[in-house]
Amino acid sequence: MTTRSTRRRAVAGFLMPFLLLYAAFFILPIGYAVYQSLLKTERSGPLGLGGSHRVFAGLSNYTTALTDPGFVDSILRVLGFALVQVPLMIALATALALLLDSASAWGVPLFRGAYFLPYGVPGVIASILWGFLYVPGVSPIVDILGKTGIRADFLGSGTVLWSVANIVTWEFAGYNMLVVVAQLKAIDTDLYEAARIDGANAWQVVRHVKLPLIRPAIVLTTVFTIIGSLQLFAEPLVLRPISTAISTSYTPNLAAYTQAFVNNNYGLAAAQAVILAFVACVFSFGFLRLTGQKGDKR
């Protein structure tokens, strides 16, 4: 009896710090955002300048968000972005990691550092740097292409999303690569020896030993990339002044930011944030579910 209650207390003691932080920084903000998303402002007095109070609005903020073509477009835009960005990013990160891990690789620490370096540059700075390379009249790339007769427009309505994709890839490919590298390092070298004894060549080792064993890392980086794509914010925000193609609701996060901090409509901003969180959950859990089932069958 006493041992059981002691153990219970011990469990509670160990869990408490985590649970408290979890509640304060995770459950509470979500709860507060959901609560905000159910409110709207009502005003009184002539022209509405006589004061205001917050009233319950039901789901009206959600219907407003979902019937706003600008916001729906922004979600479709980031989904389209993810469709291209995710495979590209994962293929690149995995390929770089495998190259660094290959037996004939040299200068591994140098290259690993070089690939990872962009991750140390904050997203805003990265966007400013790339912005200079995109702006006609300032960018040497645009100048050189112009001299060879190619009129490059990196900031037009058809191209700017992929210019953003380029920045994001530059920033995060090295980071994702490092996650995969870590998993590769954890592979027992006995397995390589066994494969070699069985007569496997380098390509077969990659295909049948390395890839299956780094699958968890690939799944993880994929989920990172899906969510990162849906949450696109800093890059379009920074490029907005120099591109005519980025609207104030270009991505869902940008739309929520505009509603909250330009239009002072916290209720609608909260509803948009909740919707985006929901979409991100559906896609990331959906992906985990998909890969999890495949794994079980195998």
């Binding site: 903000p29 022209l47 917050r54 702006v135 799944v219 005519t244 916290y266 959950c281 794994g295």
Partner: protein, 445 residues
């Protein structure tokens, strides 16, 4: 098992990120209704915090501080209002603390701050005594109902900046009407396909707003307790159609203004003109120093058959924010900053615009020939423009959102989806919806 754990940890981390995002959407709201202010006892030293981004204001503040040892003003430079300055103010007002005593607020943003109950009515602190010092129409930009919510600072009467050397070289007369402007634009394209007469900035609808203002549009008004929105009036549509045709014929550039590429094109002569406000002079001289002596200023092109009209672009005031501890002193400083001749001269040198103080032109730093403009006394042109501005233009509490709707529509049009006319019509509908969403009574005209 291991795979599962990794996945789960990843998810938790990711969801943590989502929580941050959600927190962003759920920023707090607070009610701060204290408006009493504190009385300063004689000899007591106080400090007022002032948020502004106007160039040159630091010198004026320093002058005040040297003359008023008891009421020291601490200037904190913030990003320009629409680039985050207002968001900062709104956040501080919402939080109920951290807001400055005084802040830079543009005319078009005053109703938005009133709606959030963010400004102090200065009539309680003797501002009415100073009404005679300021131009009537600019006073009306800060007065709502029976209150006066800021001290007018500056405006931007508009004219046409142009490269007289290029115009002369190509034998182009300075356009007096918009019809002539279009013809001149076409001639320039023929003479040098690299050069444009100007740009239509798709992301800067404040500029377009001023052009509609000139054409006689009145977008916003008040009828009893109802806000009236009339963005898609025939006057505005005429302006939109005009620019549709110029952009359609590729007679003007469509690059953003106030951006690196545009500055470079001003400097290297690929942009040969700019319909802009008086404060544009310092933008040009600051960003295109190589073109010194080549620019001149002419009156804004006119619509055929209409009486001479100009417009205003940009207008700013000094407001006292809710929660200010010493509103009497703050009001006094705001009036001094914007009406004292020495302060005005310092602000003019910084390029803050056209003074809101009455009769500020004569004898001030504005009243002189400008070497950058080949010795032209450019402000004679702007004085004439200032007298020809429709003085009844008003704003609504959701002006920034209305600008965004126009920007979004213009950007779509540039991308080939629809026209500027469509953008104007869409902005009308969206603006009515915005005001409704704010819980206000609204009518479309």
């Amino acid at each position: 098992m291991r795979r599962w754990r990794l996945g789960r940890r990843g998810r938790t981390a990711l969801l943590g990120g989502l929580a941050l995002l959600l927190a962003l959407g759920g920023c707090g709201s607070g009610d701060d209704t204290t408006d009493a202010g504190t009385q300063r006892s004689p000899g007591q030293k106080v400090q007022l915090v002032f948020w502004s981004w106007v160039p040159g204001v630091d010198k004026a503040v320093a002058l005040w501080n040297s003359e008023n040892p008891d009421v020291q003003v601490k200037l904190e430079k913030i990003p320009a209002g629409s680039s985050g300055g207002y968001a900062k103010m709104h956040a501080a007002l919402q939080a109920g603390k951290g807001a400055p005593d005084l802040a830079q607020v543009e005319y078009q943003n005053i109703p938005e701050f009133l709606l959030e109950d963010g400004l102090v009515d200065l009539t309680k602190y003797g501002v009415a005594d100073s009404q005679g010092k300021f131009a009537d129409w600019q006073w009306r930009q800060v007065a709502y109902g029976n209150g006066v919510y800021a001290v007018p600072q500056a405006s931007g009467p508009m004219g046409f900046f142009y490269r007289s050397d290029l115009f002369q070289k190509w034998g182009i007369a300075v356009p007096k009407t918009w019809t002539e402007y279009k013809a001149a634009a076409a001639t320039i394209r023929q003479k040098d396909p690299k050069v444009y007469i100007g740009t239509f900035p798709p992301g800067n609808s404040a500029w377009f707003t001023s052009l509609a203002w000139q054409a006689g549009a009145k977008w916003f008004s008040v009828d009893g307790d109802t806000w009236v929105v009339n963005i898609d009036s025939p006057e505005t549509l005429k302006v939109a159609e005009y620019w549709d045709s110029l952009v359609g014929d590729k007679l003007v550039a469509t690059e953003p203004d106030f951006a690196n590429a545009w500055y470079k094109h001003l400097q290297n002569g690929q942009i040969a003109g700019w319909v802009s406000a008086q404060w544009g002079d310092s933008i040009l001289s600051g960003n295109a120093p190589d073109t010194a002596g080549k620019w001149r200023v002419a009156p804004m092109p006119q619509w055929d058959g209409a009486p001479f009209a100009s417009a205003n672009w940009g207008g700013s005031s000094t407001a006292v924010l809710k929660g200010a501890k010493y509103p009497t002193e703050a009001t006094k400083f705001a009036v001094w900053l914007n009406s004292d001749p020495k302060s005005i001269d310092l602000l003019i040198q910084g390029g803050y615009g056209w003074p809101a103080a009455k009769d500020a032109l004569q004898g001030s730093a504005l009243d002189k020939p400008y070497p950058f403009f080949g010795g032209q006394k450019i402000n004679d042109v702007f004085a004439e423009a200032d007298a020809a501005i429709d003085q009844d233009w008003a704003w609504i509490p959701t002006t920034p959102a209305a600008y965004q709707h126009l920007n979004d529509g213009f950007q779509r049009a540039i991308a080939g989806q629809g026209t500027f006319v469509d953008a104007v019509k869409a902005a009308q509908a969206a603006t009515v919806a915005d005001l409704k969403a704010k819980g206000l009574k609204v009518r479309a005209d």
